[in-house]
Amino acid sequence: MSAIETEMSWRYVCKLDDLPVLGARVLERNETEGGNVAVFRNSEDVVFALLDKCPHKGGPLSQGIVFGERVACPLHNWSIELKSGEAVAPDVGCTKRFPVKVDGEDVFVDLR
């Protein structure tokens, strides 16, 4: 176990197969905790977590179409990088990203 990992505060989310391939699920959080988190799975089984709010007008990214390492916001079709939360140029904006760990079949997110 590395030193960095011990400092993480992993929260268990679900099994990998609970996430649809090229899709997402919503991780529920109160507004006071910062609001919902979207957990994505792409075609390579890489899992990403972003705040479920598009930097543009707050659209729920969890509902968007996932492709490559991006998601298209369902409201106005901004593309957001799943790795960084950055809007794809020429749009400008960034949504919060959360560290993800897939341990065997188990998916964990650090929600801090």
Partner: protein
């Protein structure tokens, strides 16, 4: 990737075509090559089209630079300016510069552009005699205008007139010498040419028409001082600008043994932009000859650049198949546009509007119901629209009588058409959907060097939503980026993931019996692993409509509304619209709806335009329970599918009713519901010609008359109102089902994704649809049967989750659990 492995790409020519190719290449394969660019001019890449506004004092050199020095540095490109390549040693793959330096390449791109043609007359080399091609020429003219008085421009073509206009604006007395009877004879017919001459004369420019120059005569200082015609007449000339045409600059290529065309000149390339002689050597731009044509305008160059980059990146797809070009003169205050074959001739039909006093002249040339050429003078607002019709080869038979009066008259612009892009203020809104003003668009075009509609859409969002302002945005591009703004290829790819068009994709799916989204992408060479939000839903629909019962629907390739079977709202909640057959409901249904509204605290209940009830603000997790409690079928109000069948009360109640329109509507809706389509489909049935169900603006409109039913198709009440066109009259309600069902099935099988019936019909022509559906009974029955086959057993997604492949996990949010209660980390 280490630099050692990179191949070396050398580019000869630092102009628009060469650098555009590099830009395209960097987009798709940024690390593939170590790139070196050689340029003779001591400038970075600039927009040559805008030299005229610089000469006219409307812009500066700085304004027209497309890629500044930093761009080359940032992209790791080795730029060598002020050096001319004098030799290509093809077997050694080595270039030699004028000063003797050697440079190796793995692949070579020749983009040497063109040279001005210099008349072989006495005095052609005198000081003060220049051509009009680059920044140096432009600066020479600007300097001359400060000291001298008399300017002569030889050549009354596009460049010559722009030079004349600029010199005049800088205070010189300008005479244009032209050998032909009228100006711009390659772009204008005689009438338009004469009108143009009159308006330039009004600006103070003098013309010598059908005049042949014999010699240029030196003055005492040795500089040119006069011009002598073959008639012996002589006129003073302190500066002479030769603008009599360009020739592809192929000297280097010829010397290196590459095959070059004798007439009209140019390095011969194939459809992949490779030179015919040496597959390691590519060529793009004005220096090439493609299928016998050498282009001198920017749009074709950009199309070439895209194809060339694709092959340099070794994707190996995309072909350049030639371009249709258009011309616009950049002389402020003179509106002129021409495209295609505007001269007409035998077998061509002319539509002409001529108002010489008003300074307006328009000529449209039509062949086989298609617009093949346009020449506009004085009023060019519709230039881009005509150009679009021309490029897409649209059937214009049905709009022929209104064609001359332009797009606004057809009801296309959505801005009443009289707001000309040029006269708009910077603060005027162009795109109402995205709130984009004219100033924002022109600023982005200038600062970011945008050239195409797609680029403007990406950067500003203008015209990217409903698209009704596309014409205006194209005009702004025309005026801001220069004349031939359009780099839209004849066949537009579906999206940036591919070079395949919608049609090509549809055909491949049918012909090669492709049965999954990944299979389509693999077969057609998609550049991205799983497409994007634009192409995947389209492919999914094409598979579904081509192979019903065989293709397994992919919900993850659908937009959220069709995945959640409800309509997403701006706050992330959803709306629910249950189906009410023909707009009829019952007390029971209303009670269940009312109960659900209370139980799930649904904030808004609204009656829709389609005679149904909309429940707005439903939380996603409540959707399955709301559907179940209401107990009514899905209204598909969220889908590209049959929406509503709107009806009037008809003969059952109405004292004017001639047919039972409500029953007809209910029968139609039961026959067609659950039907996915390229876009939404709306029906309406009226019981008499008073047409209370507004059937005239629906995809399929049915109007009952005493003797039967009149069927109308391809109406639209949305972005731009389109009146449905009369299709056929039938007697029985069974015929109504069969004829309209067959028409819709034709649209389902052939329409492009997101193409409404109105656009589909205008693309293929109403006559075509009639031929397939009305005239051909066998085909009609076959279409109708295929629709019934596709719909037979289709599930209701609100109730048959498994069969409709609804992923119910989406309705259950996950609650995070502290990790240490599950696993030790």
């Amino acid at each position: 990737m280490s630099t050692v492995q990179k191949q070396k790409l050398a580019v000869i020519g630092n102009g628009m075509a060469g650098i555009r190719t590099i830009e395209e290449l960097l987009k798709i394969a940024p690390d593939k090559y170590e790139i070196t660019v050689f340029g003779t001019e001591p400038h970075p890449n600039y927009n040559r089209i805008l030299l005229s506004p610089v000469l006219a004092g409307e812009q500066t050199i700085k304004d027209i630079v497309l890629n500044d020095w930093d761009w080359y540095k940032d992209n790791g490109i080795n730029l060598i300016t002020g050096k001319t390549i004098t030799e290509i040693h093809r077997t050694r793959r080595e270039l030699t510069t004028a000063s003797g330096e050697k440079h190796n390449y793995d692949r070579l791109l020749i983009a040497t552009g063109s040279n001005p043609f210099i008349l072989p007359i006495e005095g052609k080399n005198l000081p003060g005699v220049i051509s009009y091609r680059d920044i140096a020429d432009t600066e020479a003219m600007i300097d001359a205008a400060k000291i001298y008085k008399n300017a002569v421009v030889i050549g009354g073509g596009l460049l010559g007139l722009e030079a004349a206009n600029g010199l005049k604006l800088r205070g010189m007395d300008v005479t244009v010498v032209h050998v032909m009877p009228w100006l711009m004879e390659r772009q204008l017919d005689e009438k338009a040419g004469k009108l143009l001459q009159a308006s330039l004369e009004a600006k103070g420019i003098t013309f010598k028409m059908q005049a042949q120059t014999e010699a240029l005569i030196a003055g005492e200082s040795g500089r040119v001082a006069a011009l002598r015609f073959k008639t012996g007449e002589q006129i003073p000339a302190d500066i002479v600008v030769m603008a009599v045409g360009i020739r592809p600059n192929t000297a280097l290529a010829e010397k290196s043994g590459l095959q070059v065309s004798a007439r009209p000149g140019g390095i011969i390339v194939n459809d992949t932009m490779q030179t015919l002689t040496d597959p390691r050597i590519y060529s793009v731009g004005e220096c090439v000859n493609h299928r016998g044509t050498a282009y001198g305008l920017v749009a074709p160059l950009f199309e070439m650049a895209k194809v060339c980059a694709n092959h340099l990146a070794e994707y190996g797809i995309g072909r350049y198949v030639g371009s249709v070009t258009s011309t616009k003169l950049k002389v402020t205050g003179v509106d002129l546009f021409s495209a295609g074959n505007f001269q007409g001739g035998e077998g061509f039909e002319d539509i002409v509007l001529s108002d010489p006093m008003g300074g307006v002249y328009k000529r449209l040339v039509v062949k086989d119901d298609k617009l093949v050429g346009a020449c506009l003078y004085g009023d060019t607002v519709d230039g881009s629209w005509y150009f679009k019709l021309l490029r897409e080869g649209k059937n214009v038979a049905e709009i022929r009588d209104q064609l001359m009066f332009g797009e606004s008259n057809i009801g296309d612009v959505g801005h009443e058409g009289n707001t000309r892009a040029v006269t708009m203020k910077d603060t005027d809104e162009v795109c109402g959907c995205n709130g984009v003003c004219k100033g924002t668009i022109t600023k982005a075009i200038k600062e970011k060097g945008l050239f195409t509609l797609d680029e403007v859409r990406k950067h500003t969002k203008a015209s990217s939503s409903c698209g009704s302002c596309t014409g205006l945005v194209e005009q702004l591009l025309m005026f801001t980026a220069g004349g031939d703004y359009s780099a839209t290829p004849k066949m537009k790819p579906m999206c940036a993931c591919t070079d395949s068009t919608h049609q090509h994709t549809r055909d491949a799916i049918r012909e090669q019996k492709l049965l999954s989204v990944p299979e389509v992408m693999k077969t057609l060479g998609w550049r991205t692993p799983n497409g994007c939000s634009s192409c995947r839903p389209a492919i999914n629909y094409y598979l579904l409509s081509t192979w019903p019962k065989e293709y397994v629907d992919d919900p993850q390739s659908r937009y959220i509304n069709e995945r959640a079977h409800a309509n997403i709202q701006k706050d992330g909640t959803f709306s629910v619209i249950p189906r009410m057959w023909g707009g009829e409901t019952t007390a029971d249904e209303l009670r269940r709806i009312a109960n659900a509204v209370d139980k799930y605290k649904i904030p808004t209940v609204k009656v829709t335009g389609g005679q149904r009830i909309d429940l707005l603000g439903v939380k996603k997790e409540d959707l399955p329970a709301v559907w179940k409690d209401i107990g009514m079928p899905s209204g598909h109000a969220y889908a590209k599918a049959l929406r509503t069948v709107k009806t009037c009360v008809g003969s059952e109640w109405c004292r004017f009713g001639t047919q039972d329109s409500t029953q007809m509507g209910k029968d139609l809706e039961r026959a067609m519901w659950r039907m996915y389509a390229p876009h939404k489909v709306k029906y309406a049935v009226s019981g008499c010609p008073r047409n209370c169900a507004e059937a005239g603006i629906k995809d399929v409109g049915i109007i009952g008359v005493d003797s039967g039913w009149e069927l109308y198709v391809a109406g639209n009440g949305g972005i731009k109102t389109e009146v449905a066109q009369f299709f056929v009259k039938v007697k029985t309600s069974d015929e109504v089902l069969e004829y309209t069902g067959a028409f819709i099935q034709l649209y389902r099988e052939e329409g492009w994704y997101l193409e409404r019936t109105v656009h589909y019909v205008s693309r293929v022509g109403l006559d075509y649809c009639k031929k397939k559906v009305v005239d051909d009974a066998v085909n009609r029955k076959a279409l109708w049967e295929r629709l019934q086959f596709a719909l037979d057993g289709e599930p209701d997604p609100w109730f048959e989750f498994d069969k409709a492949r609804v992923d119910t996990r989406q309705f259950i949010p996950i609650k995070p659990i502290a990790a240490d209660t599950v696993a030790t980390v």
